[in-house]
């Protein structure tokens, strides 16, 4: 009997907004599936394309980068640079045939625990039918 596929999601979340929003989801005892492993960084602006490629290469079924809403960045403009840089990464990954659902971005503020919860739920729902991500996965 095969178990239902549970996607592994690597989430790069910024300390000031999304991680705080995820903390709020916790404090409010919201519930979302445990498929996401967070890595807290200082700013979404610090997410290099290499991190995204690396997560996929290490077998992530999905990658999420989440930061502050435009205008709210703790560092003023890091999220704007992330937006531009990662838009290109997304176009490139889709162009070589990676499913668009596998790399996503979101803006989640420190007050948006509900939004964070919903995004994780949606991501898991979208990634499940796709099955394991093997395209960019490195040979073990």
């Amino acid at each position: 009997m095969s178990q239902e596929f549970e996607p592994k999601i690597m989430a790069f979340i910024c300390k000031w907004c999304t991680s705080a929003g995820a903390d709020l989801a916790g404090v409010s005892r919201m519930e979302y599936p445990p498929n996401v492993i967070p890595i807290q960084v200082m700013c979404s602006g610090s997410i290099s394309p290499l991190y995204v490629f690396s997560a996929l290469s290490q077998g992530a079924d999905g990658v999420l980068v989440s930061g502050c809403h435009p205008g709210d960045c703790h560092y003023m403009k890091g999220n704007y640079f992330a937006r531009r840089r990662l838009a290109l990464v997304k176009k490139l990954l889709e162009y070589i045939g990676l499913e668009p659902e596998r790399f996503q971005m979101s803006w989640v503020s420190a007050t948006e625990g509900v939004k964070f919860t919903q995004i994780i739920k949606d991501l898991v729902k979208e990634l499940k039918p796709l099955g394991p991500q093997t395209k960019l996965r490195r040979n073990p």
Binding site: P49, L50, F53, S54, S57, P70, K77, Y80, F81, R83, R84, R85, A87, L88, V89, K90, K91, L92, L93, E94, Y95, I96, G97, L98, E99, P100, Q104, M105, S106, W107, I119, D122, K135, L136, R137, R138, N139
Partner: protein
Amino acid sequence: MVSIANLQAEVKKLLQEGKIKYFIGYEKGPGLLARPAFIRKPEDADRLTWSPGCVHNLARFIQDEKRRRLREKNPDLRPIGLMVKGCDSRAINVLLQEKYIERQDVFLLGVSCEALGVVDEAKLNRLLDSARPLKVEFGEKETVKVLTDQGEKEFPAAEVLADRCLECPANFPVVADVLLGEKIKRTVSRPYQSIAAVEKMTVEEKWQFWQEQFSRCLRCYACRSVCPMCYCDECVADSIAYAVTAETTAEEKAQRARWVKRNPEPAENIFYHLVRAIHLAGRCVDCGECERVCPVGLPLRLLNKKLEKEAKELFGYEVGFDPNLPPLISCFRDNDPQDFIR
């Protein structure tokens, strides 16, 4: 029309007057294509030529000069002379944007691509069939003339030009100190036609296509070696050379992330090419050299062209036209698109 005699005379003068350290142009190669020529003495200027076989991006050689300067105790700081087509000149602009060179480091002899570009050797060979090409020249009215052992043949440029020339946004030098011949401008009706086929594919078709391509990669790094933008002393995608200088400590080497494994397995090859593509976004001038030199014929231009298109469409960013612009990913606009963000 660019007069080759003028070109030779110009370079001869520059060298005689000592205005440049040496000149990089083209000379007749062993086959159809010209080859890069390094002219150090005025009398050698007679070797220089200009033809549709001048495919190389000579901006690539700037890195060698830069490294030489850093190595030498008392380097000769005169500019190096460089012959630039449209794409070469745009590469110079990118290098200026990235402060890799200063404007006075190079003396540029600009040439417009007369028959609208340079040839694709493979295309021409197919058309020539058994004939052996001896010489290739610009013809009248957008044609390319080829002298072969079976006589002279003339082809419409559109049939024999390199694909990238058919999509080129500037077949004239956008920066030059001396312009040889006239500045011939033309517009391109389908600037991104080469990538249209891949763009139309379904997700799985795309993957099938690229997987097949990447699995053939030998990781010989010819694409990187020939690229005028790949001037890093150490490539993040292939950190084989952890020692960049004699002073690099073991600790520094240990601090480097090894992103890609060296073995040419598909997943590693993909990683390598993804990194190369994303690091060329907003920098690649589509000189097509990576694709031309690839021994297994990977369609590398298609990756770079895609990101060139996205940079233009998403951010209104065109590569290599303005040396004073901040590089693509080091600037933003408040209204950059974000419809892909939740």
